[in-house]
């Protein structure tokens, strides 16, 4: 807690007294509160990514849906929601948009008519390939402050926080 050697002088009128402590408090905070540092870093990364993808045809969640469909085949919205950690009610609009763009189809599940079988179309496959290609430089820019090894370490630690078994 730094033990406050200074008697907390009142906010100095002009900016002249920027002796540093006040303007650089955020750095001190991150030393004590890893949760705050993690949270702010995440918003910075997300912001950087969404900014670069803003003009594109796909949002991040939409990209993830296409990516999972390509990886595991047709899915119910429930399965997409669970694996991608996107709320069910958000998934509705996400699939709505993708279906409107012709990138997925909603077919009734053959043996459980409560569920849909969301299926990737040919256009969806093409859109995914293009999105994957565009993704690499975007990720690279968002994590530019870290070396490849540091990025790997960060990924390992976040997976551990998520209880995902290491895939080494």
């Amino acid at each position: 807690m730094a033990t406050a050697p200074r008697p907390a002088r009142l906010a100095s009128p002009s900016r002249a007294d920027d002796s540093g402590e006040r303007r650089r408090y955020f750095a001190a905070l991150t030393l004590e509160r890893p949760d705050v540092a993690l949270c702010r870093a995440t918003t910075a990364v997300a912001r950087s990514i969404e900014e670069r993808l803003s003009g594109g045809p796909l949002t991040v969640p939409q990209h993830l849906v296409l990516k999972m469909l390509a990886a595991v085949g047709s899915c119910s919205q429930q399965e997409l929601s669970e694996q991608l950690r996107i709320d069910r009610s958000v998934m509705v609009g996400c699939v709505d948009t993708l279906e409107g763009a012709g990138l997925v189809r909603r077919e009734r599940h053959p043996r459980d008519r409560r569920a849909y079988a969301v299926t990737l179309t040919a256009e969806g496959t093409a859109a995914l390939a293009e999105a994957e290609r565009a993704m690499a430089p975007v990720l690279d820019h968002a994590f530019a402050a870290l070396t490849p090894q540091e990025r790997a370490t960060l990924a390992r630690l976040t997976r551990k926080l998520l209880d995902v078994p290491p895939a080494d």
Copy 2:
């Protein structure tokens, strides 16, 4: 109970071919998308913390405001916003609540009458001490999956990530 290998598990149709790929897709995703892993890990940590603090008198942002005031002395809301990375318009309500609880005072800044000099009261100092005491086990639980050394590494990487210059 549950010892029966009976596949009578619900939703048999498509689940039957769950060789694992479908149900564990999230793990595969985190290997390719460190940004998604980071984002989901952050929400998990934040959720854990806010859940444990839900009954308490202070929210996380309020705690941070008291903490910064104790560290650097009286501040304008602008300075609090900048250093804590909390939007100005959010800071208004935050300080409102703290003032209503008698933990801070809003005094007019002596030489800039646009700004307030938000000042910690004696009650605020006491509330902060109590909140600081309660924080350690909460943080420890949120990061329970990591060893102390891993937590330090994560903190170092997130701090490094926060130096990412704004993309222009």
